[in-house]
């Protein structure tokens, strides 16, 4: 095994992990609080990326370009929850039915984007900056910025969840919604907040994905969703730290496999790790406690 290629692929893997981690943190937050596997998450990522692409094409500047993705992601996410999912949840549909609704919503978003984009793949202009050597690894300024963004999101999420009353109430809600409600925690407001934050992170993940890959198509998020779900489940529902650790494992594994076995197998590596963890610790993932049964949207 060529050690230079191995170290380079680990470096790429850390950058890929940062991209997966931002999506996985949003996904796991929403999964932890609502207990719903949201299969439209990848499409909301794509929606966010397209929003930034449009703003970038309008030459509105860097800040609006960065803000557009999380903003559109948050709006799309909360709209999905309060319209489609709310209707089906009111009809006493269970976790599987709601999961199918998210899948359908995701397909609607994807095909709408496809129709509007005329099946094109768009180039995204984002300077990657100079090359930086850090120990045995080689990064670009852009990839360091992506890693920094993931670290910032993790720090902000941890601070919000562990240091604020709102965050502690959210953690309580994710453990036991009935007891939290009996304590007077405003459930509806909390769940809406969760959809907004997870949607914003989905949009941001779409943006970082596109800045890393420099191309975007309507189906991009759906492919990336596989790795995001793998990281969220591997890390344990509702655990941002677990999601980041899992993203690191998956990111590095996919890049190392891509370097030595071809990019064709990179996603398979992520799924293989997920399958292994599901066999070893089926109900909890690696870094979280047991999950509950009921879905709250």
């Amino acid at each position: 095994m060529n050690s230079t290629i191995l170290l380079q692929s680990i470096g790429f893997g850390i950058t890929t992990a940062a991209v997966i981690a931002i999506g996985a943190m949003g996904f796991t937050l929403q999964l932890g609080v609502t207990n719903l596997l949201n299969l439209s998450f990848g499409n909301i990522m794509t929606l966010g990326a397209f929003a930034s692409l449009i703003v970038e094409r309008w030459h509105l500047g860097l800040v609006p370009t960065i803000l557009a993705a999380p903003l559109v992601g948050a709006v799309a996410s909360v709209l999905l929850a309060r319209t489609l999912l709310a209707v089906f949840a009111r009809r006493q549909n269970g976790a599987f039915e709601l999961l199918m609704v998210t899948l359908a919503a995701g397909l609607i978003i994807e095909y709408t984007l496809d129709a509007l984009a005329h099946l094109q793949v768009f180039q995204f202009q984002f300077p990657s900056g100079a090359t930086v050597h850090l120990g045995p690894f080689v990064f670009t300024v852009l990839s360091l910025a992506l890693i920094g963004a993931a670290a910032l999101v993790l720090a902000a999420l941890l601070a919000a969840l562990h240091l604020t009353r709102l965050g502690k109430a959210l953690r309580a809600l994710s453990v036991d919604p009935k007891l939290a409600r009996a304590c007077g925690v405003p459930m509806r407001r909390m769940i809406n907040l969760t959809w907004i934050v997870s949607g914003a992170l989905a949009g941001l993940a779409g943006l970082v994905y596109v800045t890393n890959s420099l191309t975007i198509s309507a189906g991009a998020g759906l492919n990336f969703l596989v790795l995001v779900i793998a990281a969220a489940i591997l890390g344990g529902a509702g655990s941002p730290v677990g999601a980041v650790l899992a993203a690191l494992v998956i990111g590095v594994a996919t890049e190392v496999v891509a370097a030595f076995g071809g990019s064709y197998y990179s996603q398979a590596a992520g799924l293989a790790i997920l399958a292994l963890v599901l066999v070893l610790r089926p109900s909890t993932g690696m870094w979280s406690g047991p999950t509950r049964d009921e879905v709250t949207v």
Binding site: A172, V175, L179, A180
Partner: protein, 246 residues
């Protein structure tokens, strides 16, 4: 004579519009322990879920401090002063002791919450020493103490305890009822106590309601209840034996 803190009149409730409890009347006054007993399947938990607002009332009325709260949500009832300690899943296991108390006092202002936590630690000094520990690491008795302390954070006027001694050893069960529950009533709190350990609970209760097949079989003072050999033999003797068998 003051109005009761909690007055349930003719309450019928159940699941999917099928009543499990029918026409139940119960009142709870301040500083009083109102005991509800009955065999398994009598509808005690359904009744409790109806009072706290988890299940809708099909007919009847629930008044709290003179206000009709029958259509209020669970959160509204909790905010108004109806506290609840469930039989199981009574604390947030992944949160620390202090965080559990903070969630219990979520409706309070930041300052009031801080004072309430300090007051709780003065009342339950054992919890202060455990404050950084996750609730899932506590023993059964410590956990129940935390559950009650968590419910007390919002200073409820009425506290509903659903089988607080379930799963506890006889010694700890005795402590929970004799010290914690009696202590609550002494603080002026009205307690609605659902309990399977009938003899222990009857010894501290002010009155007792027997629920059988979703209906009230009898409502008596605690003294009268303790003097009912037929009822205890017929309904509660075997149940208590079963409940206290390890």
């Amino acid at each position: 004579m003051h109005d009761p803190l909690l007055a349930v009149a003719g309450a019928s409730a159940g699941y999917n519009s099928v009543p499990i409890v029918r026409g139940v009347d119960i009142t709870v006054n301040a500083s009083e322990i109102a005991l509800v007993v009955g065999p398994n399947g009598a509808g005690k938990s359904t009744f409790v879920k109806t009072v706290i607002g988890e299940l809708p009332l099909l007919s009847g009325k629930i008044e709290f401090a003179g206000t009709d709260v029958s259509r209020w949500s669970e959160e509204q009832r909790a905010s108004a002063g109806i506290g609840y300690v469930p039989q199981t899943r009574d604390v947030f296991p992944t949160l620390t002791v202090t965080e559990n108390l903070e969630v219990g006092g979520y409706r309070l202002s930041r300052t009031d919450c801080r004072h309430a936590i300090e007051g709780t630690y003065e009342r339950f000094p054992q919890l202060r020493t455990l404050r950084h520990r996750k609730a899932r690491q506590l023993s059964g008795g410590e956990r129940k103490m935390l559950a009650i302390a968590r419910a007390l954070m919002a200073s409820p006027q009425v506290l509903i305890l659903d089988e607080p001694t379930a799963g506890l050893s006889p010694k700890i069960a005795h402590q929970v009822l004799e010290e914690l529950v009696v202590g609550l009533a002494r603080l002026g709190c009205g307690v609605l106590l659902i309990e399977q350990r009938v003899k222990l609970a009857a010894a501290i209760a002010s009155n007792a309601t027997v629920l059988v097949d979703g209906r009230v079989r009898s409502t008596t003072t605690a003294e009268e209840f303790r003097a009912l050999p037929d009822v205890s033999e017929l309904f509660f003797g075997p149940l208590e034996t079963a409940a206290e068998t390890p």
